[in-house]
């Protein structure tokens, strides 16, 4: 019954028309992992997430979700998603924060059915977890970019997913909220064993919370425990990315300073 991995990619390659974006990606994510995906702009991070979500079909290779072939996987509500451009929506859209978050329950509720009676409680809880419950009745278009982003995170949380996929979710969120947002993710990860895949350029801030790291640039150069990632030499990172990526030792330095 229980699949060994929540998400498993075997030899996945992907290309848009002519350009190869991903090459022979194999990646396994276990239940309870908190994986940070690192890589420079254009390295294929968002593309990788879209393949996992079934928004793009791999050119070759296969994707397994909770032990099932992605094509046959029916329980999409188990996987929550916050996209990179989620606040690039039509800001004139007449909808309240409540309505937007409630729409995260669509798949869980099922076709032809009304939202369940406890929907409003769930929505309120999801909004509380991102500190946005006071804005429930506001129009989504009247909020600031960072506030909108937090609403979209609430929309991903409201269906209580088993796995949460976040594509640079903290862009536009102020520093104070970024910290509490990562703490909230860590809480979800530890208390509710939600699997997390997080694309970020902000390794420093999140380094205490994550368990695994994957370095992506067309292929996966490294995937393993955070501690093993710390052992990687700067030369290697340089070779993968063409320039250095900030590494996690920053936290150690910070600890010394404290």
């Amino acid at each position: 019954m229980n699949a060994p991995y929540d998400i498993e990619l075997n030899n996945v390659s992907f290309q848009y028309d002519q350009t190869i974006v991903l090459k022979n990606i194999s990646l396994q994510v276990k239940q309870g992992d908190f994986l940070a995906v690192l890589g420079p702009n254009g390295s294929g991070k968002s593309t990788l997430l879209k393949i996992i979500l079934g928004l793009l079909k791999p050119t070759s290779g296969d994707v397994q979700l909770f032990g099932e072939k992605s094509r046959d996987f029916k329980n999409r509500e188990w996987i929550g998603y916050v996209s990179q451009k989620s606040n690039a929506f039509n800001t004139g859209f007449p909808a309240t924060v409540f309505e937007v978050v409630e729409s995260g329950l669509v798949k869980k509720t099922g076709l032809f059915k009304k939202y369940p009676k406890d929907a409003s409680i769930r929505v309120e809880k999801a909004l509380q977890s991102v500190g946005m419950e006071k804005f429930m009745k506001q129009s989504i278009g009247e909020l600031s970019g960072g506030q909108q982003q937090r609403v979209f995170i609430a929309r991903a949380l409201v269906a209580e997913p088993k796995c949460l996929i976040l594509d640079e979710p903290t862009v536009g969120i102020d520093h104070e909220h970024v910290q509490s947002f990562y703490n909230m993710l860590a809480h979800l990860n530890r208390e509710q064993h939600i699997t997390l895949i997080l694309v970020t350029h902000d390794v420093d801030t999140v380094s205490n919370q994550i368990s695994h790291v994957a370095c992506l640039n067309q292929t996966i150069h490294f995937h393993g425990f955070k501690n093993d990632f710390n052992q990687i030499s700067d030369e290697d990172l340089q070779a993968w990315y063409g320039h250095s990526v900030r590494k996690i030792h920053h936290t150690k330095v910070r600890e010394h300073n404290d």
């Binding site: 999409r76 989620s86 039509n90 669509v106 798949k107 032809f112 929309r155």
Partner: protein, 288 residues
């Protein structure tokens, strides 16, 4: 007016279908506007015209078509057009709007051919272009009722899916929504509403009835539910007032309904401006 309504069946037909259309056109219009598909309604109405002109032309030579309500062929054309638009939109992924001029010109082209072949405009055709108070038959009314039942059932069944698809298509797909199918059904239902509205407002003005009340409601609505409610209220007001004026002044109702919608829109726009400036002044006053 009331007396005339009791005495004349044609007036009952016109008002009953008008009230139904005043409900379903803005109802669907809300989704059309927020999905930025307003022009699709125009394209589909011209395709509907091609179907109707075709039917009117064929009725001159074939007894079968002489007996057939031209609306049927109009519905067939509209639904075919909606499916074709969907296919084209997927073919031209990065230029989705290209589907609209293609289908629209096809509709106008065929209409022109059929109208010429049928030897120009008949009075019948004029009523299809701009609507009519007197031309709505009992059969037309029944068609409108059936279409309204289909539309409302569709919206009840797919309301939350349509909302999510309109607000954030990528998220809808990521949550495993059968986006392609919901979208196709939506286009077909839109085609049906256009065919249904045509008898009253006319082909050239159908899309206005789907968009103008929504344009007004979007200025006022805070939530999606409010946007729908106001759009329907404005749509009904425009249809009923428009029909009454059309009846008394003996003008095509398409014109009176659309002009009424525009007046409503203006009142909303100006009203909101005034209201905002009053609020600003009051707030300014309380600070000082």
């Amino acid at each position: 007016m009331i007396e005339a309504l009791i005495n004349y069946e044609f007036l009952q037909n016109a008002f009953a279908s008008g009230i139904i259309i005043g409900l379903i056109a803005p109802l669907l219009g809300v989704f059309i506007v927020v999905r930025r598909l307003s022009l699709i309604a125009d394209a589909l109405s011209h395709v509907t015209l091609a179907g109707i002109a075709g039917s009117l032309f064929l009725s001159q030579s074939y007894a079968f078509f002489a007996l057939l309500n031209p609306l049927y062929l109009g519905i067939v054309a509209a639904v075919t057009g909606s499916v074709l638009i969907e296919r084209l939109r997927r073919l031209y992924k990065h230029y989705e709007e290209l589907a609209i001029p293609i289908i629209m010109s096809a509709g106008i082209g065929f209409s022109a051919i059929f109208i010429s072949l049928a030897n120009g405009f008949s009075s019948d055709l004029f009523s299809y272009l701009f609507g009519s108070v007197s031309a709505v038959s009992r059969q037309d009314l029944w068609i409108v009722i059936v279409i309204a039942i289909i539309v409302i059932t569709f919206l009840l069944l797919f309301f939350k899916e349509l909302f999510l698809l309109s607000f954030d298509e990528e998220y809808a797909k990521a949550s495993g929504l059968p986006a392609k199918w919901v979208h196709l059904l939506f286009m077909i239902v839109t085609a049906l509403v256009i065919a249904a509205s045509m008898r009253i407002v006319g082909i050239l003005l159908v899309s206005s009835l789907m968009t103008l009340p929504v344009a007004a409601s979007m200025r006022l609505a805070k939530s999606f539910k409010q946007a729908i409610l106001y759009a329907v209220v404005f749509g009904e007001a425009a249809v009923i007032l428009g029909l009454v004026i059309a009846f008394y002044l003996n003008i095509a109702p398409g014109g009176t309904i659309v002009v009424t919608s525009i007046i409503i829109l203006l009142i909303v726009l100006i009203g909101k401006k005034i209201w905002l400036s009053i609020v600003m002044k009051n707030e300014g006053g309380s600070v000082v």
